[in-house]
Amino acid sequence: MIIATIIRQSHFFHSGAIGIDPMDNELVRGNLLTAINPYDESALNMALYLKEHHPGVHIIGITPRAEQAQAFIDQAISLGADEGVILDMEPTDAAGAEQRAKQWSLGLKTLDFQLLLLGVKEMDRCEDEFGIYLGAHLNLPVISGIKTLTLTQAGEVQAVRKLEKGHGERVSCRLPAVLTAEATGRYRYPTLKSIAQPKNTRVIHIPAPTGDTQEKMPAVALKNLRPPKVRPKKGLVEVDSSLSVTDKLSQLFSGGVTEKKGTGDILTGAPDQVAKTLVAHMQDKGFI
């Protein structure tokens, strides 16, 4: 079974803070670090998990032509991918997700795979639609936002989709399919031995046909970058002027924690009696 995993780049910032040029509100590129998109790393991790549990799984790491492409492929191979592919296609940074997916699909159609795994989100653009569009252009089913993945004996995949508030749903799908992975927060680190592995592993360059990728709709140009607004903390801006200096300082340093007034007396007594009262209260409030 061949699993293709997509590896895209994302940018991080030295010191963790973004640099924005105040003159033109553009990104200060000198402050940038490039790394594998963490969601794609999570997808690669899921592929490696399947490889460990199912003999015969072969993993191909695919990345677009970019400055760091070889480094990303080397990293994927050192983590356990069997093969690397660099898709030689024109830079698509200015295109919308649908157009980019279309161009990617032209390259991917030249490859043989049963399962295409990628991260659900692209960090730089904060977009999560690329995988769905890719499935549409490849005419393959898509399961988005999975957090676990298993292969069944019937040749299907079973995955758990992440829902809100910790819920999930188990879904199954026939292969071939496209699956997009949530960030699991579990990452692997290459060993010294595996870091030397890329030298012995095949990396091929595949020219992606340009096809009819002429833009029907130009992507919305996102500009005028600004740091997100800092939410004001309650209390810091609303100090009660009638308080004494000590109380004002206390209110300032409390970070907005305010006393709840008129909320009743403190319940005391023997544990058994207090338990009865407490449980009755929780029942009245509808908590149990």
Binding site: F12, F13, I18, G96, A97, E98, V120, M123, D124, C126, E127, D128, E129, I132, Y133, A136, V142, S144, G145, R161, E164, K165, G166, H167, E169, R170, V171, S172, C173, R174, A177, K216, M217, P218, V220, A221, L222, K223, N224, L225, R226, P228, S254, G255, V257, E259, K260, T263, G264, I266, L267, T268, G269, P271, V274, A275, L278, V279, Q283, I288
Partner: protein, 338 residues
């Protein structure tokens, strides 16, 4: 596109119920309708929607409320949802679609955009419609470390997913008489729209493993609980009331719970419906992480503990003696009820 903008609001889902995100999107659509001539259609899916219909229609914001009500819509199924939306778009296609940036909206929006040949912008924070009917959006980029602005060309329909919690529900009310349009499920979607996957089961959140940030009920233990063995009672109590277990920093320092369970300035910030504080004195650093809980019950032996200042219900008692009694009492009541 005609002069009147057709705005669709796709109702969100929160587990099985339609959540606040639908009301947020309606508020946004209402604001847009103030600037230019808009007709708002709210589309919701699910089972037994009478209460939801009453709630949404009561806001008097939508011109039309379209409901797809059937067992097939109990879970989000892209094929079923897309078939319904494709049918709806046949009669009156939308100019702007607002969908929630939830697990459902993130999956459905690109499928709908692909079907409509629409531009999609995901995870936006703000959408503005100028009086000249030009659309401007604000969305986070670079891992939400910056916000960017974009002007959307108005020569194609637009689908956006909106991040929940940015706009706020508010108390916005309109003056429209909402027309209710109840529809039955149409046939299956075309192959291109079908998801190709099958939902096997819904997995409810397990309070023992759920992230404390997502939990509706959180039970937090502090140094007053004692050691690792004593903490098992806190866990048992939390499990009994369907709560997630959190803690203050000393518990993490002692290795009783991992760092992802820590609440406070150096841990996580929670805002559950119920927060039960057990043996936590209430240092400011801890309070910063739980002060937004809707209802706080504090249990502590020290009547002067700072946590009592911000609690709704205060119990001065030894938590190690009280919790076993509470567990026993809850078990007793549940047996009586049966």
């Amino acid at each position: 596109m005609g002069d009147t903008k057709q705005i669709w609001v796709i109702g969100g889902r929160d587990g099985y119920t339609i959540g606040d995100e639908t009301l947020e999107l309606m508020t946004e659509a209402h604001d847009m309708a103030k600037k230019t001539d808009c007709r708002i259609t709210v589309v919701i899916f699910g089972e037994a929607l009478d209460e939801t219909i009453a709630l949404l229609a009561g806001r008097r914001i939508a011109d039309r409320l379209v409901t797809f009500e059937a067992a097939a819509y109990r879970h989000y199924d892209p094929a079923a949802y897309m078939a319904a939306l494709a049918q709806l778009a046949q009669t009156q296609p939308p100019d702007i679609v607002l969908a929630p940036a939830t697990s459902m909206g993130r999956d459905l929006a690109p499928r709908l955009a692909f079907h409509l040949g629409a531009q999609l912008i995901s995870n936006i924070q703000q959408i503005q419609l100028t009086p000249a009917a030009k659309i401007k959006i604000v969305k986070p980029v670079y891992g939400a470390k910056a916000n960017a602005t974009g002007n959307v060309p108005d020569d194609a329909p637009l689908v956006v997913t909106v991040i929940h919690g940015v706009i706020g529900v508010g108390r916005t009310k309109g003056s429209k008489a909402t027309q209710i349009d109840r529809r039955s499920p149409p046939g299956t979607a075309s192959q291109a729209l079908a998801s190709g996957y099958q939902v096997l089961e819904f997995i409810a959140a397990d309070p023992r493993t759920i992230d404390i940030v997502d939990a509706d009920v959180v039970v937090a233990g502090g140094r007053g609980v004692g050691g690792k063995d004593a903490f098992e009672t806190v866990k048992a109590f939390a499990f009994l009331i369907g709560g997630a277990v959190g803690c203050s920093r000393p518990i993490v320092d002692d290795g009783i719970l991992p760092l992802d369970r820590q609440i406070g300035q150096t841990g996580k910030t929670v805002a559950p419906d119920l927060f039960v504080s057990c043996g936590v004195s209430g240092a400011m650093q801890h309070e910063m992480g739980m002060k937004d809980a809707k209802y706080i019950i504090a249990i502590n032996t020290d009547k002067d503990a700072p946590v009592f200042r911000i609690s709704d219900y205060k119990v001065a008692c030894d938590v190690n003696r009280l919790l076993p009694a509470v567990i026993k009492e809850i078990h007793g009541r549940s047996i009586e009820e049966h």
